[in-house]
Structures are given as C-alpha cells and as structure tokens.
C-alpha cells in the first residue's frame, strides 16, 4: 500500500482557550471559543465550515457547536474512539474528508473541564461498567483495583524497567525536559516552574513505579484545528502546515490501556503501526524530523514511543534521552511547548497546535528552521499520528 493523505490537506488555523484548573464556564462555551479562535486564525468564518470532528469522549455534540457558532450546514461529522488516541486521528478524518471532497473546511476540536469537572485520574465506575465490549474488558481489571490510567501504565512500566534495565530516573528525564520547556512558555500552566531530577525522585508515589511527576497534570481548556485543502490553505491568512502523513493504529491483542496479554508487555506496537504508515505516507524518516511532539500523559510511554517510532532500538530510549538530545537545540527537540506534563492536558490536541506553530516559526520555544514535525496521540490505547511539513 502506498496510499496516504499525500499532502493534499493542511492545517490552516489553530485556536485555544487559556489552560486552567477551573475554567468557570461550560465545555460548550470552551469549544465555541477555541473554534472561533481557530477560524479567526485561518481568516475564515463559521459560514465557511461544513465539517466537524472530535473525540467520542468529547461532551460537545457537533450540532450543538454548529448552533452556537452559526454554522449553517454540515456535510461531514465524525468522532474517534479510544480517549487521547483520537487526537491526531481527528485531523486524519478531517484531511480525508477534504481530500475526497466530502467537505471543504473541517474543524477538529476538543474542549473539556477535565480538572474542574470529571477527572480522568480518578476512578470512574461509568467507564468500568459500560455495557459494551470495553466494559467486559474492564471487568478483568477494574474490580481487582486496577482502576486509574496511572495504574494501567505502571504495570507496563514495571515490566519495561525489568526487561531493559531502565530506572525511574530515566522516566524522570522526560518530566524534567517537559517542565524546562514549560517554564519558558507563557501559555503553559507550569510557566516559570521547572523541576529537577531530584524533585522528580522525591515526588510521592502514585502507582509505583510511577511518581507523581511521571503523570501529566489535569486541565480545563479547549483546542481547535482548521483543516482544508492544501490548495485553499495557501491563499489563507497563515502559512499552512501541510499534512504529509496521517495514520491510525491498533496492535495485536489490543486493549484500552490494558494490553496485558500480548507476548511482549513492554512495548507499544500500536504506535509502531502508526509510525510505519507515517514514514511511508510522508516519504520522511526519523532523521527528517526537526521537532517531535510525543503524547506524554505518562513518562514511560514517551521512552517506548521513541523506540516504536524508530528513533532508537528497543530498550535503548534510556540512553537516547540522555545528554540533552531532546533539548531545543538537540538532535530531536521534544515537546517544545512543555507537553501535557508542562503546558496542559488537552488530550493531545495542544500538541498538534504546537507542531503547527513550530512550522510557522511562531512558537514560544522555537526550534530554529523547523520544517518537519511529528505528532503522536494517546498511548496505551489505539492511537494515531501526524507528519506535518512546511509547504
């Protein structure tokens, strides 16, 4: 298969609310604000929009958003499942709709009060006991007490430490890097608040081997991305971020956060599925990536993504991330916005916006001359990814 999105579509606008712990307004209001901001950024209006895409988990129906914004008609609407794994796939769906002529301007959005409202880090009985196959799957885990995202990751992280001789400090280096970037990003919640590896090691256990500082924050906020054809995007206000590759992936014996029954527990094969498609579609390789925005809800999965995507061999991420390789001027600048550990947890959508800023050259922590950006979505779940390039 040589198919793919092939640069036919582009991200023409990005928009966001502020990132907070208590937005003080409804999720629908957050959604309308970020979509309006993204349209303004693109130089488009609500009447130009004919498609909307979001996460299955998003609480804002496309039609509700269309009503509030005054979008008269929608010809395309779609939702992606599997939590944060949906992030890049919303852009993929939008790009496919545009490339096939199903819609001209599609906005991907995600808006929630994840900190002041329903917190993903707490135990959710409604998630555990949903009347579908995911509920059945959860029955082997939640009742026993494996009931939070951190705990589900900790099980895999423990095996990773064992199989590859990594340490908690190796996880910690990801957190320290993220907070260093956030410290100089005015939009980040942890702006001005870097941490040291000692801080990481001293932070309390959440689910051993994960410290508190291995876990991303919880946030209120919204992010929206305007997708249209690359051709149309060229004539809009902003330089387009061309979608050179867009892929989804699930792996063998896949579960949502609990793929514990595979032969090899200490991997993320679903991200390998995404990576192989991205390189093939975009014609790029790991060495072409100027900036990487890797989903970082929990630090161990950042190391494992580096391995699955081919930046280093299996079990070698602990060495790869040492020696400043992930710094802004390093070989692979990682999450210059501070990631979800440092900027905000907007289910990966803020990372896509950051990749666009990097290609435009307008980021708070700009990687000099960034022309190719890699973005990934939620890990431990069926996931997705993007390769974005300058025109």
């Amino acid at each position: 298969m040589t198919g793919g999105i092939g640069g036919e579509a582009a991200i023409a606008g990005i928009g966001a609310t502020e990132f907070s712990k208590d937005s003080g307004r409804t999720e629908l209001r957050l959604a309308t604000e970020c979509v309006s901001a993204a349209l303004a950024d693109a130089g488009l209006s609500a009447s130009d929009v004919d498609g909307l895409v979001t996460f299955t988990m998003d609480g804002n129906a496309e039609i509700a958003l269309a009503r509030e914004l005054g979008i008269p008609e929608l010809t395309f609407f779609s939702r992606i499942h599997y939590g944060g794994g949906a992030a890049a796939a919303t852009v993929q769906q939008a790009a496919m709709a545009v490339a096939t002529g199903m819609a001209d301007v599609v906005v991907a959005y995600r808006a929630f009060n994840e900190r002041s409202g329903s917190r993903f880090g707490q135990v959710s009985s409604s998630v555990a006991q949903q009347a579908n196959t995911s509920g059945v799957d959860n029955g082997y885990h939640y009742p026993a007490g494996l009931a939070t995202p951190a705990a589900t990751v900790a099980m895999v992280a423990q095996r990773y430490l064992h199989d590859y001789g990594a340490s908690s400090e190796d996880f910690g280096r990801i957190a320290v890097t993220a907070r260093a970037r956030a410290a100089t990003n005015p939009h980040a919640w942890f702006h001005g608040k870097p941490i040291t590896l000692a801080d990481h090691q001293a932070s309390r256990w959440v689910a051993e081997p994960l410290h508190l500082l291995d876990c991303c924050q919880e946030s209120d906020g919204g992010v929206a991305l305007v997708v249209t054809s690359a051709e149309r995007a060229r004539d809009l206000r902003r330089p387009p971020a061309v979608i050179a590759g867009a892929a989804q992936g699930s792996g063998p014996d896949q579960y949502v956060m609990t793929s514990y029954y595979r032969d090899d527990l200490a991997g993320l094969p679903e991200m390998g599925v995404v990576g192989r498609q991205l390189w093939r579609q975009s014609g790029r390789t790991t060495s072409d990536v100027d900036v990487a925005v890797l989903y970082d809800h929990f630090t161990p999965y950042v190391l494992m993504q580096l391995e699955e995507l081919g930046f280093c061999g299996r079990g070698e991420a602990k060495d790869f991330v040492a020696d400043g390789r992930l710094d802004l001027d390093g070989q692979l600048p990682l999450n210059p916005h501070g990631g979800q550990l440092g900027e905000a947890y907007i289910h990966g959508m803020n990372g896509i916006a950051e990749a666009v800023r990097q290609l435009r050259g307008t980021a708070a922590n700009q990687v000099a001359g960034a022309e190719t950006a890699l973005v990934t979505a939620g890990t431990g779940v069926p996931t997705s990814g993007l390769v974005l390039t300058v025109p």
Binding site: G121, V136, P143, A147, T148, M155, A157, A207, P209, Y261
Partner: protein, 328 residues
C-alpha cells in the same frame, strides 16, 4: 481453593447461629403488652400538633370536634407510637423481640443501627383518656447483606397497640443492624475469611462469553477458556482458528504461577481497597496471564518472577475476584 470453601462455610456458620436465634425469638411470639407511661392526653396532643404544624381542629378545638364526624376530640393517628415511647431513661422490656435481636447482633459485631422503613396501620382514632399498651413480635431477620454502610442484617418487627383487648393500630418496623467499616481493617477476619473493605468494588460486566469465568470464581475455581488445545484469557466468543462450529470449554487452573509484572497503587483511593495495595499480572503455569490483587505481602518484597498461588476474594454472594498470595 479449599480455603475459599472453608471460608464460606465458616461465614455461614456464624450466620446460621443468628438465624437460629431469630427463629427462637420469633417462635416465642408476641411480647407481653407494655402499657404507655400516660393515658392519651390533651397536653401532649397540643404540643405534638404544634410541632408538626397540623392545624386540624378535631384534635384541639372541642366545639369543632363535636361538630365533626368524630363527635368529640380525638388524637392524631400518627401519634400512636408517641404514647408508648419510653422517655429519656426507659428501656425495652426483657421480652421485647427488638431488644433481644439487637443484643444478639451487637455481640456478633453488627453494632451499628439505622432505621430503614416503617409502615403503620390505624384501625380507629384514639380519644383522650384511653390507655394503650404495645406488644411486639419478630417478623423476620435477613442477612448478612452487603450494604453501602457495611455488612448487616435487616430485622423486621410488628408492633400492635391495644386498648384493653382491642387492637387499635399496628406498625411494621425494619432496621439494619450493620458492622461499621473499620478503616484500619487489615482485610482478614479472625476466622481467616478474607473480607473486602466497606466500599463496594466496581463490578464486572458478565456476558454469555465470560459467565463461566465469574461462576467459577464463586465456586473457588480459576477457570481458563479452552478451544481445543488452546487456552485463552481473557475469554471471548471465538477460537484462535476462527472455526464457527467450535465450542469452548474450560480448564480449572492449578492456581500456581509467577508475577509477570506488578504495581503498587498509592493514589487515588479505589473502592473496596485499602491503600497501598499490590496488583499483580500473573503468568499461570498453564501459560495465560490473569490480573488480581496480591495479598499479605510487603510491597518491597514483590518482584517479577515471584511465585504466587491463586486465592479468592469473596465480595458477596454474586462476586468473587481472583487474587494471589505468595507461594511459600
């Protein structure tokens, strides 16, 4: 596996003793009528209707009452229980079935009480000057039931109020006598039966595909789905080779295996669990992995490869969870 069976029979023995005592108390029949401290009187009626906010003049205004269907002043029916209340220092008589049942359940550790519901039936209005007496019988005792408050027994009594030999009112009254949760409960009772902490665990979704697994746990068996020669866990509706004609059965695992991976959960709280706790993904000797809590172990002593044995966490009559203990 035998441990679980023994544990259940031990729990049943304690329950059987309570049930036998309840039968004896119920068999003793109604308690001797216990007379009210005072006759039905206007002063108490005046106070009560004022507190309740009942302005019906048939209770307080002789002229209005005389003109009513009653022809004279009457007492509010809902005051029936008021007349036989025992005051600040009163005690139920020795033969009162609720007193006897309460003492019995207190001794068995079900020390807390909450009234759950009562239903009253009034046969006629009472009049000032009448003197009532109450007699009670034990109607039923049901338990132990797992409730949000804790394990407990529902105790139902029926009280009848008499004037002389005439029954004037009746009440069915139900309480829950429960064992209050102990935050520091290590999870083991004296008889070795493992009891879950007070908050209910999240419950699994049971389907036709996996019912055998959950049924097995209730019987103290760790059942693994088998399609021909292939074992599969978690189970599903299809065999590995996609043969639509195939039918699965199961094997009962020996219950021995080693820790494949694990975590120590510290935060946030999880229903039914005491923090911190260890969760282990165990590779059974049969070759499949099963997840459960690893009990009675210092978290620092847990390591990948640790030999463990299956145990069974009985939550209630419907749910038993797979769990592990260190194999010595």
């Amino acid at each position: 596996m035998t441990a679980a069976t023994d544990g259940r029979s031990t729990a049943t023995d304690a329950g059987r003793r309570i049930e036998e005592a309840a039968r004896e108390i119920a068999g003793a029949g109604a308690s001797a009528p216990d007379p009210a401290r005072d006759p039905v009187n206007q002063a108490m009626i005046n106070n009560w209707v004022e507190a309740i906010g009942d302005a019906n003049p048939v209770y307080t205004d002789p002229a209005a009452a005389a003109a009513s269907v009653h022809g004279e002043l009457v007492a509010p029916p809902a005051m029936t229980q008021v007349w036989t209340m025992r005051g600040l220092h009163g005690a139920r008589p020795d033969d009162d079935p609720l007193r006897r049942m309460t003492e019995l359940l207190d001794e068995a550790g079900y020390t807390s009480v909450v009234a759950t519901n009562s239903t009253q039936t009034y046969h006629r209005y009472l009049r000032p000057g009448e003197h009532v007496a109450a007699s009670a019988v034990l109607e039923g005792v049901v338990g132990p039931k797992r409730t949000a408050l804790g394990d407990g027994w529902f105790v139902t009594t029926r009280t009848t109020w008499y004037v002389g030999d005439e029954a004037v009112a009746e009440m069915t009254f139900r309480i829950l006598k429960f064992r209050p949760p102990e935050p520091q409960d290590p999870g083991n009772s004296d008889d070795g039966t493992r009891t879950a902490d007070a908050a209910p665990v999240l419950r699994p979704v049971v389907t036709r595909d996996n019912a055998f697994f959950w049924e097995g746990l209730r019987d103290g068996e760790l059942r693994i789905q088998r399609w021909g020669g292939t074992l599969r866990h978690p189970p599903g509706p299809m065999p590995p080779d996609g043969d639509l004609e195939a039918e699965p059965d199961y094997v009962v695992a020996a219950g021995t295996g080693t820790v494949y991976s694990f975590l120590v959960h510290h935060h946030p709280p999880v229903p039914g669990k005491r923090l911190p706790f260890v969760l282990a993904l165990v590779e059974l000797d049969e070759g499949v992995r099963v997840l459960g809590e690893l009990h009675d172990v210092d978290p620092d002593e847990v390591h990948i490869g640790l030999a463990v044995a299956a145990s069974f966490d009985r939550i209630d009559d419907d749910l038993t969870l797979p769990a592990w203990t260190v194999r010595s």
